[in-house]
Amino acid sequence: MNLVHADPKTVLTGAHFMDGNHAACEGAIAAGANFAAGYPITPSTEIVERFAARAPLVGATFLQMEDELASSIAILGAAWGGAKSFTVTSGPGFSLMMEHIGFAAMTETPSVFVDVQRGGPSTGLPTLPAQADMMQARWGSHGDYEIIALSPSSPQECFDVMIDAFNFAERYRNPVFVMMDESVGHMTEKVVIPSADRVLLVPRRYTCLPPSEYLPFKPSPDGIPEMARMGQGYHFHVTGLTHDASGYPAINAQTQQELLSRLVGKIRNDADKIARAEERQIEDARIVLVAYGITARVALRAVQLAREERIPAGLLRPIVVWPFPEKRIRELAGQAKAFIVVEMNQGQIVHEVERGVAGRARTVLVPHAGGAVHRPEAILEVIREVAQWA
């Protein structure tokens, strides 16, 4: 696939001291996002606030919508109109977006959804962190579909994963999620933004066929259809109903089977290419901690403390959480006696770890209700207990 450089006019090259929300916004702009719609909500507001301020300078548009349903459909319309688009929200708004997330998956609309997670359920803890929307990102809309989700651990990574998110969205024509949390969104650290020629972008997949030969949902050899440039004579139809290559409804089991296997297969079959994780001190680890987002930093501190006590602990930090790195967990289950899953919820990703481990090692959850991050010492306590029998 041919990659293109970012537009130098949009990339704020240099070393900055900025929070994760602002860094995520700069990542989106560097990735070429030229449309955002949102209904501002704590703790995500700073992303669209900054985007609204930066939009006139980079030729982008920000629409403040009446709610999250409108925001989430506006970005899909913008994408079909040729924009690279995203929306930003937190738990309550994320719930409202679910209908259109399914629509994005069904219509294969390149789109990026940022969820800066706060404590829930419902309005919960507006100003405090949680990681309790991880399963909602995966399964929140009805029907079978696949998504890609990334989880950054620092303001720097908020910038970095936004680039990846837009690239995945274009590459797979799929909704992509950036699952931040309040801690990462609101903490301020050094963020280095590279020069534009070091930001590589996946361009929109446009058809080269003339309008008379173009079928909007006819898959390319890699299973993904090409889009048409609007206003150039192409006929197209976009529907949430089961559709054939023409884009028009075809309400029968065979079309459903073909469409579904393609929608699900394009992500599942490429899971290894999409996977991205950081591993720390994993080579000789008998106890593998699994954590993502802000929790991974705290878990790494616990690993350091455990190593000081000669406990062979290590950390697997999925940066791409969905598709889940099941294969890597399976591999590690051969060497590790125990997995400790640390997450700021009552047990979500732990189920994926258990599935990958498949009984070959013990899996222990260190949950947190949200509102604050785990203390490394509390995680260390669990590591010590597990080390007794691991």
């Binding site: 001291f17 609101h186 650290e189 050094k190 705290v298 490394p376």
Partner: protein, 187 residues
């Protein structure tokens, strides 16, 4: 002092508490090569109510992002002082706005230094630059961040056109710290 410093700057909204934290944090992170994590409490913080900002400055990557051992408390209001001084770690340093804080010498295990930051800011003609006077005072007393790094940070942090005024405020606080020779107030 350990190589990692945990700093809290607290006062009331409108004093520029958050900007003071940003100036110090940016100085350490961008101009002095340190790892810095800045967090702030998010609440209904309108002008006049409590505001605070926390900084961890370390030679190592900061993993746990919140304070666990407060080394340096900068109190710019009575409320900030009474609320946070019990959290100051033994051997820690208290820096306070002496006209706004009713200092009680009841923590012999800490070092305490006062400055009339608001008055010094008024001498420069602008009361609202007391935050930069405090930043100068913090720089002079603690030495956590080199003064040159802070001057560069100020230029990148304050509104265009106010750089020289804010730098003058910084210098005023720095000079005050050095001229007082920093005799710790102990009872």
């Amino acid at each position: 002092m350990s190589a990692t410093h945990e700093i809290r700057i607290a006062g009331f909204g409108g004093q520029g508490v958050i900007l003071a934290g940003m100036v110090i944090g940016r100085a350490a992170a961008i101009f002095d090569g340190k790892h810095v994590t800045l967090t702030q409490s998010f609440g209904p913080e309108a002008r006049g109510s409590a505001a605070s900002v926390d900084l961890i400055v370390s030679p190592e990557p900061v993993l746990y992002p919140y304070l666990t051992r407060l080394d340096v408390l900068v109190a710019m209001s009575e409320e900030a002082y009474t609320r946070f001084v019990p959290e100051l770690h033994p051997g820690g340093t208290l820096l306070f706005e002496q006209d706004l804080v009713n200092f009680q010498a009841n923590r012999p295990d800490i070092h305490a230094f006062g400055i009339p930051a608001t008055r010094l800011a008024e001498e420069l003609g602008r009361k609202f630059i007391l935050n930069l006077v405090m930043v100068g005072f913090v720089t002079g007393v603690t030495g956590i961040v080199p003064a040159d790094a802070v001057r560069k940070s100020i230029a990148d942090s304050v509104p265009k056109g106010t750089e020289s005024l804010n730098t003058a405020a910084f210098d005023k606080g720095l000079e005050y710290a050095l001229s007082q020779k920093l005799a710790a107030i102990h009872q």
